[in-house]
């Protein structure tokens, strides 16, 4: 292994600009003559707009334009789309209401976009917005999913009269019912997966620009997938054809899913830039982020697990209601369906599974993918059920898992997925050692002496990453293919630019992708640049989400590098006067087999461009190759996280005492970066389990709409993490990568709740397990014990 190659903990190339304040985020970009947009948002969760009077506002200082739904409709700008078609059990297509970028006649959640003011300064735009008079007829709002589907509930979209977008299912109901009929023991759980706000630290932002001389648009935007944004804005929303629309996603300050989607604000900014003849900039303030960034999770589930007399799992039944909010966001329909139910087998050999999922509209912010997207919800169901089943049957939770793990691969689950490889017991056994499971009883006794309750919680998670084989997801309703592209441009002196359709917003691609290139071409890592995030530079790409950039994005680079090396061999063969078949390429040198004649990579690159040593008709000059990689399967990262907590029953305060993570991500390019991804994921997962939760009041007002009211994890809320790894290389991509971006967020919540409930003598506690919730559960546990 070289110091900068695959497997090395290379310090990040991108860091210099970030630690010196020289990053270029969207809000750092200013165009000459730029004006500012401020969105007037609905203060009501559900209302008819009877009229909008903008006369006074138009006359205010600095105002250039005030645009409403009528203007956007008059210009025939299309609505926002949902790109994944889900069919209900009865075969009918999902019932999706229209999603205009500026409200037309009705608002459906607090924060919905009513009008945009464009002015010389942001302060002027904000001031003028207060002069807009909107006559609302306030309608009853519905926030709770159970209320939303009741007869007589307020109708949010006419097309889905009972506020149900789909009644979807997966698996074999008859087989599952048969398993339950024969079961020796059935474990039942009611589970709420709390709604979260992704809260990337950089708020969303957009700068729209229009060049009348060439009739072309440029949009700078906080996107995880600028090419998908361009595709949607061109093909569906109709801003401009793709060759007249450049989308640039510069440095992006975290995404976690929330920046995948194509939102109203960037649509309006790029459209308005032409309309007002000025570049238009919008940057969310944090309250706007809370109101308008797609939220995550929000499931209510009843789940049942069937066991035979030997404690083997024989069946699983799951019924989930998924809150989709007031409109379908870009990929929202897929999250509680195909990104959720296919993971319900967990790491276990479960012969029969049946899942039903109802997607439901409410008068709340749209819900879409947030770190893990469906997989954390599935893991929470499976790992809570398994833990409770072990406790109910009096089996050690680690032994219960070991007994039920999938042991041979490939393994076909009853819910679509074919697990390719893994070694689940190895991860669990390693985690038990690292966590000193044997010493638990002693530690519990020590805690008890101090009046504290100590508990341990396991989470053996699996996820499907490397999203995804295009034809497979197409057959499940996806509107796009999920391949990735790469282009490797070798310059005449042997430096290399790699253009990738992946997008880095914290993942460190500029380093890891360069490590791959340095490793394969045998050139210094400093001679490699990674180019991403600009549709004028990179031809096409699908972006970064679903832990796909290593498994899919790097595989595309790998394939392009194969072509570069193959072409290099041809060039070297001419230069070294040998047969192409006799040329080897190793450690950055092209050499003639069995001789000491060789040329280094840079010399071959130069010869490829000089083109003196070969006939241009026989071999094209230059050294530049591209590739598209379409995966053949999902990848299946898996692992075991163990959380150990100490609960103070007097205050309900939970302190995480130790955290052990053992993950199998397949081959690892940069262990430092991978561990960082694990840390961050756990942080968000612990946030969900202990601190975070969206609260709407019954009128649909978002009560948790700032960092004062929504509890983000801070440094003193979280522990240090003990991270280990096992490795079974993924067989479905050339690098053996599985993906690591979401694992922590998927694994952590059930580990925490299993630990707290262990401490509390198995009393259930809802997420977030705030001191109040834990204290209440502790009181209940005490009362139950007294009654016994």
């Amino acid at each position: 292994m070289s110091a900068t190659g695959i497997g090395a903990a290379v310090r990040r190339k991108e860091d210099l600009r970030f630690i010196t304040g020289r990053g270029q985020y969207t809000d750092d970009i200013n165009r000459p003559g730029q004006a500012y947009a401020y969105f007037l948002r609905s203060p009501h969760a559900h209302a008819e707009i009877k009229s909008i009077d903008t006369r006074d506002a138009r006359a205010a200082d600095g105002v250039l334009a005030i645009l409403t739904g009528d203007d956007i409709a008059a210009d025939k700008v299309g609505g926002l789309i949902c790109g994944w078609m889900i069919h209900s059990k009865d075969g009918s297509a999902m019932k999706a209401g229209a999603h205009p970028a500026l409200a037309q006649g009705k608002v459906r959640y607090v924060g919905d976009h009513v009008a945009v003011v464009i002015a010389e300064t942001l302060a002027q735009a904000r001031d003028a917005s207060e002069k807009i008079k909107v006559d609302y007829k306030v309608l009853p709002a519905v926030v709770d999913m159970n209320d939303a589907v009741k007869k007589g509930a307020p109708v949010i979209h006419e097309v889905s009269g009972n506020n149900t977008v789909y009644n979807w299912h997966l698996g074999d109901k008859a087989a599952a019912d048969a398993a339950f009929a024969k079961a020796k023991h059935v474990t039942k759980l009611d589970i709420v997966n709390n709604r979260l706000v992704p809260n990337a630290m950089e708020p969303r932002a957009a700068v729209g620009d229009y060049e009348p001389g060439t009739e072309s648009f440029t949009l700078y935007t906080t996107s995880q997938n600028p090419h998908v944004a361009r595709l949607v804005l061109s093909a569906f929303i109709g801003i401009a054809p793709e060759h007249k629309l450049r989308v640039i996603a510069p440095d992006v300050g975290g995404g976690f899913g929330s920046k995948i989607f194509i939102y109203a604000e960037e649509t309006v900014c790029v459209w308005a830039a032409k309309k007002v003849g000025r570049p238009v900039k919008w940057t969310a303030d944090r309250s706007e982020s809370f109101l308008s960034d797609a939220h995550g999770r929000d499931h209510v589930t009843h789940a049942e697990l069937a066991l035979d007399e030997g404690g083997k799992i024989t069946g699983l039944r799951v019924n989930t209601k998924a809150n989709l909010g007031a409109y379908l966001s870009t990929f929202s329909s897929s999250v509680p369906t195909y990104l959720y139910a296919p993971l319900l087998s967990g790491q276990y050999d479960i012969p029969a599974i049946y899942a039903e999922v109802d997607g439901i509209y409410t008068n709340t912010t749209p819900v879409d993918a947030y770190r893990g997207a469906g997989r954390p919800e599935a893991t929470f169901v499976v790992e809570r059920l398994v833990e409770v089943a072990a406790r109910e049957t009096g089996v050690d939770p680690a032994q219960f898992r070991l007994k039920n793990f999938v042991r041979s691969f490939p393994h076909q689950t009853p819910v679509i997925m074919a697990y390719d490889t893994g070694n689940y017991q190895a991860a669990l056994e390693k985690a038990l050692k690292m966590a000193d499971y044997r010493g638990l009883a002693r530690r519990k006794a020590l805690s008890a002496r101090a009046g504290k309750l100590r508990g341990i919680g396991f989470s053996a998670y699996i996820e499907a990453c490397g999203i995804a084989p295009s034809a497979a997801v197409g057959s499940l309703g996806a509107g796009v293919g999920l391949w990735e592209s790469a282009e490797v441009r070798v310059n005449p002196i042997g430096t290399v630019e790699v253009l990738t359709g992946s997008h880095s917003h914290g993942q460190g691609h500029e380093t890891t992708f360069a490590q791959l290139v340095s490793d394969r071409l045998g050139i210094p890592i400093d001679n490699v640049s990674i180019v991403h995030g600009d549709t004028d530079k990179v031809q096409m790409g699908m972006g970064t989400y679903g832990s796909r950039s290593g498994a899919v994005g790097m595989s595309a680079i790998f394939k392009a590098l194969d072509k570069v090396i193959a072409k290099g061999k041809k060039v070297a063969a001419y230069c070294l006067e040998a047969s192409e078949n006799d040329i080897d390429f190793k450690d950055g040198k092209f050499s003639v087999k069995g001789t000491d004649r060789n040329l280094d990579f840079g010399s071959v690159a130069l010869q490829a461009y000089i083109a003196h040593k070969f006939n241009g008709q026989d071999l094209e000059p230059g050294l530049k190759e591209g590739a598209f990689w379409d995966p053949t399967n999902f990848t299946f990262p898996a692992g075991v996280h163990i959380c150990e907590v100490e609960v103070d029953p007097e205050t309900g305060i939970t302190r995480i005492d130790r955290w052990t993570a053992v993950d199998d991500f397949g081959r690892v390019i940069n262990p430092m970066i991978v561990e960082g991804q694990v840390h961050g994921g756990i942080g968000q997962g612990v946030g969900q389990a202990l601190l975070e939760g969206v609260h709407y009041n019954k009128d649909g007002q978002l009560v948790t709409a700032s960092f004062n009211d929504y509890c983000m994890p801070r440094a003193d809320d979280l522990p240090s993490y003990n991270v280990g790894m096992t490795q079974t290389p993924c067989p479905s991509n050339p690098l053996g990568i599985k993906g690591c971006g979401e694992a922590g967020a998927i694994a952590a919540p059930p580990a925490v709740i299993n630990a707290i409930t262990d401490a509390l003598g198995h009393e259930d506690v809802p997420m977030p397990a705030t001191p109040l919730n834990v204290w209440r559960a502790a009181q209940k546990a005490v009362a139950k014990k007294a009654a016994e």
Binding site: R11, R12, E14, D15, L16, R17, F18, I19, T20, G21, R22, G23, Q24, Y25, D27, D28, N30, A123, N199, A200, M201, E202, P203, D251, V252, G253, G254, F256, T283, D285, R286, S287, H505, G506, Q507, G508, M672, I673, E675, G676, H679, G680, G681, I682, G683, Q684, S706, F707, N708, M712, P713, R714, A715, D716, L718, S720, Y721, G744
Partner: protein, 156 residues
């Protein structure tokens, strides 16, 4: 519009500003020092931390006009003579940043912690002192390591 003059990163600056201009707006919009970020509107996240007369403050919570004659250091002014500050080096060395958005505020806060608490910092102190800065990427593990390492390096 009233005029304000101050020293920013060792350079005298002055401008006529709208009276409601916050220091962070003055830095970002007037001086184009965009390394100082805005991550919230309630003084919770700490992305905007700069030093004023040697002390860390949240630049989103102070009016530019109140800082007449002040000496302001932003993340752009931390490296001296082309040499990174030890805390900057420690953040890079310990992989204490991912997306980089909270990083300028984190580094400015961390330098201030060391100035106040000294060069030997235990984990608990660091975690407590970082309470005013949010990071959504790192889970804080590596930031805590970086602050400890940076604090030691600052003693040299």
């Amino acid at each position: 519009m009233p005029k304000v003059s101050m020293t920013v990163n060792g350079k005298a600056v002055s401008a006529n500003v709208d009276a409601r201009t916050l220091l962070v707006q003055f830095l970002r919009e007037d001086l184009r020092l965009t390394g100082t970020h805005v991550g919230c509107d309630t003084s919770q996240c700490g992305c905007c931390v700069v030093h004023v007369d040697g002390k860390a403050i949240k630049s989103c919570t102070v009016l530019a006009l109140t800082l007449e004659g002040a000496n302001v250091t932003t993340i752009e002014g931390l490296a001296q003579d082309g040499k990174l500050h030890p805390m900057q080096e420690a953040f890079r060395e310990n992989h204490a940043l991912q997306c980089g958005f909270c990083t300028p505020g984190m580094i400015m806060t961390s330098v201030d912690i060391v100035n106040r608490k000294g060069n030997t910092l235990d984990e608990q102190t660091i975690r407590h002192e970082l309470e005013g800065n949010l990071c959504r990427c790192t889970g804080y593990h590596n930031i805590v390591k970086a602050v400890a390492a940076g604090a030691e390096a600052m003693a040299k």
